[in-house]
């Protein structure tokens, strides 16, 4: 075999989860001693790709994958993580997989403990042999020192600072004699900058010993600082594969978001907007995974205001906080009055509706009929669809009105179903989303929040949903705040787009702004020029 044979080669990797393609023809090489940066937005397919590489059972359970993985030029097909380990692939996960009550040594040597025989072991078999702690200690120490750091091998994981946990995890992977490929999935995400630097040095040192490293990170500076090559995944495809020397942080960011540099079809009509209908000042929201720290923005009467940003940066927290679904603070003015918080009912009563991003969890009564799903919120917050009996003494559901309402929306939004009595759980994602929209429309709100309206639905349904929103805004003059992680979508629908990064508004951009500007705002690299377009 020649020296040119790459250590690892992924060839045309394809994977779909029940019809939804998440990886399509992903191809790249990894050479010995090389550090390969793998970047991509959330949902681009990085984690799935690594699960395939590591032979995770979830891949097999969901129908396997297409394409080939070659190690040293020979095709391999792992039936489980152990096969991957045997082939010399080590993986450090985003979440720690360490046992808190065990020491560093015990964690590093877990399931590879060095045993010495004994009388008991002789009688009852090797499962009862005693541990050779001295050798284990030395082995752990060697592994840690290969990283160029100092950790007491006898320290309990629970007592370690977070950085040391990460090092312990890497030490465990490199302790295997055979390990030749190391995958690091966002190893620096939880580290401070100085810790990250030490880790990056350690990784470089490892690469110098001939280990091939796949390094996944959102911190693009780290990628350009240490990797040899960078591969960009976008929508499940490997769209770019260049040596780091030939690219810049900006170019990488652009490649992650999309290569389409032309601004999307612009709303030609010169739209005029009224006074701010919603003013948010210093909003904070404690929503797990989507923490909002300090957000301020104005939404004008009649516009479609977009909120974008990478996952986990806090964009989803904004509508959830304003609707009081999560603890929040700061000032929210709606139509010039302070919006009281603490109960979603008050926001609903003021004329604000919300289509949640968690369609199945919050958006729908999955076991109930479409009639219920659409009419319920209006019934509860506006006393509609109730019929009075005995002079108002008893008020019962007006099933007939509910059915009419459901049928109106089924026709209007082209919802595919067997009838208004079908249970919501039986509908496809796109049609469920339409039900959620119908529920919000039927409240006749003045301000509508829609959160990730196209998440997990197919292209056709996407177009319809966006079209419906646009029409709703144009025809009824309803102000819409749309939160989405799909930038293209925001640019095609919105009048202004706020980009949220690290819990704060990084920038408010015009949809015609260049791709690079959006990309840089998202990466949090664009601190200056806040509220560039104040009033146009």
């Amino acid at each position: 075999m020649s020296n040119d044979t790459p250590l690892l080669r992924l060839e045309g990797i394809t994977k779909d989860f029940s019809g939804t393609v998440v990886l399509e023809n992903v191809t790249f090489d990894l050479r010995a001693g090389e550090i390969l940066g793998l970047v991509g937005e959330n949902g681009a397919g990085k984690t799935t790709l690594m699960s395939i590489l590591f032979g995770m059972p979830v891949i097999r359970e969901t129908g396997g994958y297409g394409g080939k993985i070659l190690v040293d030029g020979r095709e391999v097909r792992f039936s489980g993580p152990f096969d991957a380990l045997d082939a010399g692939i080590g993986m450090v996960h985003q979440e720690f997989s360490l046992i808190p009550g065990f020491s560093a040594t015990e964690n590093i040597m877990l399931n590879r403990e060095i045993a010495k025989g004994g009388i008991i072991a002789d009688i009852f078999g090797p499962r009862l042999s005693t541990l050779d702690r001295a050798t284990m200690h030395t082995r752990a120490k060697t592994a840690i020192s290969r990283l160029g750091i100092e950790i007491d091998p006898e320290m309990k994981i629970a007592e370690m600072p977070i950085g040391h946990k990460q090092f312990t995890e890497i030490a465990r992977e490199i302790d295997r004699e055979k390990v030749r490929i190391l995958v690091l999935d966002e190893p620096t995400a939880v580290l401070t900058e100085s810790e990250a630097e030490i880790l990056l040095d350690a990784v470089k040192r490892l690469a110098a010993t001939g280990i091939g490293v796949i390094f996944i990170s959102h911190r693009l500076h780290e990628i350009t600082g240490m990797c040899d090559r960078v591969v960009t995944l976008r929508d499940g495809k490997s769209v770019r594969d260049v040596p780091v020397g030939e690219t810049t942080v900006e170019e990488i960011a652009v490649s992650m978001v999309g290569r389409d540099m032309a601004p999307p079809e612009k709303n030609q009509d010169n739209r005029v907007f009224g006074e701010p209908i919603l003013s948010v000042k210093n909003l904070w929201v404690d929503m797990p995974g989507e923490v909002v720290r300090n957000v301020s923005f104005d939404v004008r009467q009649g516009e479609i205001f977009g909120i974008g940003g990478l996952a986990g940066q806090g964009k989803l927290g904004i509508p959830n906080g304003i609707m009081s679904l999560y603890p929040a603070g700061g000032e929210v003015l709606f139509k010039g009055k302070t919006l009281p918080r603490g109960n979603p009912r008050t926001a609903l009563a003021e004329g604000i509706a919300f289509v949640s991003e968690d369609r199945r969890g919050v958006g729908l009564l999955l076991d109930e009929t479409l009639e219920w799903n659409i009419a319920f919120t209006a019934m509860q917050s506006q006393n509609r669809f109730l019929k009075s009996f005995l002079g108002g003494l008893v008020r019962l559901r007006d099933e007939k009105a509910m059915k009419e309402l459901a049928n109106t929306y089924i026709d209007m939004l082209e919802i595919k179903c067997t009838g208004s009595k079908q249970a919501a759980k039986e509908l496809s994602g796109g049609n469920q989303q339409k039900i959620c929209l119908a529920k919000a429309f039927c409240l006749e709100p003045e301000l509508l929040f829609v959160s990730e309206p196209t998440r997990g639905i197919d292209v056709g349904a996407k177009a319809i949903v966006l079209d419906v929103l646009r029409k709703y805004n144009r025809e009824l003059g309803v102000t819409i705040v749309m939160v989405s992680s799909e930038l293209e979508e925001l640019r095609s629908v919105c009048d202004r787009i706020a980009i949220v990064s690290q819990g704060a508004v990084a920038d408010v951009l015009d949809p015609s702004a260049s791709q690079a500007e959006f990309a840089l705002s998202m990466a949090g690299l664009r601190e200056s020029g806040k509220n560039r377009i104040k009033e146009n």
């Binding site: 009912r345 009563a349 949640s356 729908l364 109930e368 019934m379 509860q380 109730l386």
Partner: protein, 353 residues
């Protein structure tokens, strides 16, 4: 073509009704067919089943609100039963008889049921997800506490206290001369020697079912159902989840209290001390057999479940005792009711989340 179509339709109808119910109904039918051969009167058996249905229906109906609001099966039904016992003993103490006795007992029980239910709801709202386990312990604890209280409370009616000491309530108190069979005998129709239709009782049960049916169709009832279906959805629609759950628990407790009063008037006795412990399980079993899941129940399921469960309980011991020539009725009853709960709980339908 046509036959396969037919088969499919029959299969769907069967699946809709539920195989467990079909099997139990068939079993019940077999018992009825066997009955004449072992000299068990069908007329008296039917009469028995209808009576027992009337006695127990309200206790089963009490399960509905809590199931709908997502609080699960009310294993703490004993709390409602205790409220009913307090009401009925007080009515006897005050010397209320006839209609005044029965409705007096209902009126006296309700405040207790509301207060106990409210406290019980407070507790259940703190243990979301574990309601059924906690409910069971609440039931046990309350019954044991009341076992002490029945001795201490200052009852003095000669009909209720221990004869030799003159204080403390007896374990069984007769309702003779108070409101024994007040409802059961109201407009009762004697169809044959051993078949009497308890019109008043059945009417009362029907009215209660209608009230529950209407309630579930009201705004509050709809909100309650949505809390059980998806609490997050309900909250996002501005519903106060805890308030809905509290309402459902209070309702369940009140229905439990009225339920035990119906039971007493038909049975003829007030049973105190550990008796309330034996009320929750059969009610749970009945509604599960009726086809309810742990967060969806309907009135039809209450009726079907109660008839099937009480039918089996009535028929199995009498038929099998006659077949085996031994008295095993109590053993069979316990095995049946607990076995059915076990079976129903393993079959509980998964809820989509």
């Amino acid at each position: 073509m046509n036959t396969t179509d037919m088969q499919k339709r029959i299969k769907e109808a069967a699946a809709d009704f539920g195989w467990p119910r079909i099997i139990i109904a068939l079993f019940l039918a077999v018992l009825f067919i066997l009955a004449p051969f072992v000299k068990v009167s069908i007329a008296s058996s039917l009469s028995d089943i209808i009576n027992r249905f009337g006695m127990n229906a309200l206790l089963v109906l009490a399960m509905v609100p809590m199931i709908q609001s997502g609080c699960g099966l009310n294993f703490g039904l004993s709390l409602g039963v205790i409220a009913g016992l307090l009401g009925s003993t007080m009515a006897v103490q005050f010397g209320l008889t006839g209609w005044a006795g029965l409705f007096g007992a209902i009126a006296l029980s309700t405040p207790f049921a509301v207060v106990l239910g409210w406290l019980y709801a407070k507790l259940l709202n703190r243990v979301k997800g574990e309601e059924m386990t906690i409910a069971m312990y609440v039931g046990f604890a309350a019954v044991m506490f009341m076992s002490i209280m029945w001795l201490i409370l200052p009852y003095s009616s000669k009909n209720m206290v221990w004869g030799y000491e003159g204080k403390g309530l007896r374990t069984t108190i007769t309702l003779d001369g108070y409101w024994n069979r007040q409802l059961s005998d109201f407009l009762a129709v004697r169809l044959s020697d051993n078949f009497v239709f308890p019109t008043g009782l059945i009417l009362f049960v029907a009215a209660s079912c209608a009230v529950m049916w209407l309630f579930l169709r009201s705004k509050t009832g709809t909100a309650m159902t949505s809390v059980g279906s998806n609490p997050d959805f309900a909250r996002a629609s501005g519903i106060d989840i805890n308030k809905m759950r509290t309402t459902s628990v209070v309702m369940s407790t009140v229905f439990g209290a009225v339920g035990i009063l119906l039971y007493q008037q038909s049975f003829g006795f007030i049973q105190l001390y550990t008796a309330p412990l034996y009320m929750a399980f059969p009610a749970v079993a009945a509604i599960l057999i009726g086809g309810a899941s742990i967060n969806k129940a309907s009135i039809v399921q209450v009726v079907v479940g109660t008839i099937l469960f009480q039918g089996i309980l009535t028929m199995t011991p009498s038929v099998i005792n006659s077949l085996l020539q031994t008295d095993m009725s109590e053993v069979i009853r316990i095995v049946l009711s607990n076995g059915m709960i076990l079976y129903a709980l393993t079959r509980k339908s998964k809820v989509t989340r």
